[in-house]
Structures are given as C-alpha cells and as structure tokens.
Amino acid sequence: MLIIGMVVVTFLFLLFRAYVSPSASFQRNTVSIVARGQDAGLYVSPLQGWIHDFFHFNQLRNICRETQKENQRLLIQNTKITQIQEENNQLRQMLKLKEEKSWHLVLANVILTDPTGLSGSFWINKGSEDELAAGMNVIINGEILVGNLVKCFPSYCQGVSILYPDSRLSVRDSRSEVMAIAERDSGGKLLLKLVSQEADIKKGDVLVTSRENPAFLPDLLVARVGDQQGIAANFLKDFSLEPFFERSDISSVIVITDFKGK
C-alpha cells in the first residue's frame, strides 16, 4: 500500500513538474532547436517521443509560444526587408538610368492623391529643398512617364499625371516613328486622336513622348496602343491607349531634375 502510495505521489510530482513548473526561458535559437527535432517529440520510437512530450509539455508549450513570437518578429523583419529591397531595386534602376541618360534623378514617395478622383493630381514628399521645381518630369521604373510637377514647396511638391483633364501630349510610335496626339477623352481614358488612315499604327505598339512636347522629355514611355475606336467623318481614326502605369499601384516615383525649361 505504501509502495503504491509512493508511486502515485512520485507520478503526481513528475506530472506537476512537467505541467506547472516554469521552464528555462526561451532563447533566440528556438527555431533551430525545433528544426533539429529536439524537444519536439521527434524521436526514434513513437512511444519514447510520446513519453518525452508527456513529461515536457510545459516546455513544449513555451517553445510553441516563443516560436509564435519569433514568427511575428520575422514577419515584421521580412516586411522591412521587402521594402528595402524595393527601394534598392528602384535605386539600382535610377543608377542605371543615370549612367545611360546622364539624368539627375530624385526618388520620392507619393504621399497624397486627389481625394475627389477628378484631376489625377498627387503630392510627393520631396520639395524645393531637394532641388525639385515645377515643370520637372515624374517617371516610374522603366522610364514610364507619370506626369510632371506643377507646384513646389520646401518639403513637398504637387504633380499632375498625364491623365489630368484636357491634357494632351505629342507621342511617337516607337516601331513606325509615326507621330500623333494622345489626349484624355471625356471618360477619363487616354486616346490617340487624329491618326490618318495611312498611318502605320497597330494594336500593341509602344508610344513614347516625341521631341515636340514642351513639357516632357523625349522618349519616355507613355502607353501601349489598344483597339481602334472607329473612323471619324474626316477619315481620321482614333485608338484607345493603355497607360503603362496603373491607377493605384504607385507608391514611389522618380523625378528627373534635368528638364527643358530649367
């Protein structure tokens, strides 16, 4: 009877120790411990693993909790690294552009856009203190034209996109060298207007800014030619255009500080 009582007490003590007593504090190497299979029940014999887990439940629970914390920390770190990676890519592209075109470029973040959705104006977090001025062209990666700056203050600037109401820009077909006028239609989309019947413009052609634009540098990507809109009474045809930048995916832009009006 005494022996049975001692066995029960010992068992209860071990159980208490396993479930209630505090275990050693978690260290940063928890992930590697779990990865190696230690303390996680990965043993040669399933029974051995089960017994181990049974008597080390508290420790396993702590490891699990700390792993969750570690996971959160890594997620935050991952987000930061992704942001840095994106910025790094943009800076690399800027450097490449600088070398190719000998432009002076400034990287800026889009902080605000037009809340009414009517004008397509935007605000960036760099201003005249960063040597930015009205008239400078704004692009995104790959020399895609976004618009230009219209007002500059010491620490921020206002810009308008090429989709600003009534905006017009002279474009050139990069394949056939045909010139045309791109303008915004009443629905807010870009159209290639007044193209003669003989003009060699096809769906899928890439349009770049021509040298005739007073406000934009030449050879910046504008849009891709879409479907033909129909033939007008004056036998000129119109094409829909697909801008290279989407409505809402731009968080940072590049400002070209060398511009014609400087």
Partner: protein
C-alpha cells in the same frame, strides 16, 4: 454641444478616410462621402455651422485636388439650394429628405462641372456624371437604411 462634438468627430473620420482611403494617380469614380455627410447633417444644425464644415471640407479637397476653388463654390451652392428647398419641404419626411438630398447632389456636381468648364476651361467629362450617379444611389441607400432603423 455633444452633437457638435460628435459631428466633428464623424467629419474628421470621413475626411481621414477620403484622403488616405486610396491612392490614385489617374482620375476615376469616387464616392463623395463628405458631401453625403454634409447633406445628412445640414437640416439639423445651424446653417453657419454647415457652411463652416463645408468650408473646411472644400479647403482639404481643393488643396489636394488641383482644380482651383471649384469644390468650395460647389459646396456653397449645394448648401444654398438646400436652404432654399427647406423653405418648402418638411425635413422629417422621407420623400422631402430624398428630394432635398438628390437636388443638392445634382447642384454640387453640376456646379463642379460647369465651374471647371466655364471658369477653368477644363472638361471633367463623364467622371462627374458617374460620381453624381454613385452619390445619388448611395444617398438613397443610406436614407432608406436610416428610415428603416428609425421605424423599428
């Protein structure tokens, strides 16, 4: 005093949501929540307070929008139309509220369109029409929900 504080709080939330809600470099359809908010509160507050809120709203929208002071003029004209209509309509009736709100929405967007077209020589095109229709439909929906909640 409490209702002023609450209305200011809601106004600030709506403005915050409007300004930081989504980034768009291209023009497109947007629900004008500040306008709807002003239409809903203006019969229950002194006109001066409504004009003050409209002024603050227009200050934000015109500063960020880049279309001159057209929002300010449009808000003021919409409010003036609303005040004029309130002389003939009863503000507690569902139909009156419906007419009042819809006319104010049309007045706002019509002023915005004509103001830009005449004053600034900018054709805002169909975007204004879509925005107007969107605001009108949303106003009816919110008014209907409000009516249902009050009747229960």
């Amino acid at each position: 005093m409490k209702k002023y504080f609450l209305s200011l709080l809601v106004w600030m939330l709506i403005m915050f949501f409007s300004v930081y809600g989504g980034k768009s470099l291209a023009p497109g359809f947007v629900f004008s929540l500040p306008l709807l908010f002003l239409i809903f509160i203006f019969p229950y507050f002194p006109y001066l307070y409504s004009f003050f809120l409209a002024f603050l709203t227009a200050l934000v929208l015109d500063t960020l929008g880049g279309l001159g002071a057209t929002n300010l003029i449009a808000f003021f004209i919409a409010l003036l139309v609303g005040i004029a209509l309130l002389r003939f309509l009863e503000k507690s009736s569902f139909i009156s509220q419906l007419i009042l709100g819809e006319v104010m929405i049309v007045a706002y967007y019509l002023t915005l369109f004509l103001g830009n077209y005449v004053w600034r020589d900018i054709n805002l095109g169909f975007i204004v029409l879509w925005d107007c229709l969107g605001a009108a439909v949303l106003y009816i929906a919110v008014l209907f929900i409000k009516e249902r909640l009050q009747s229960h």
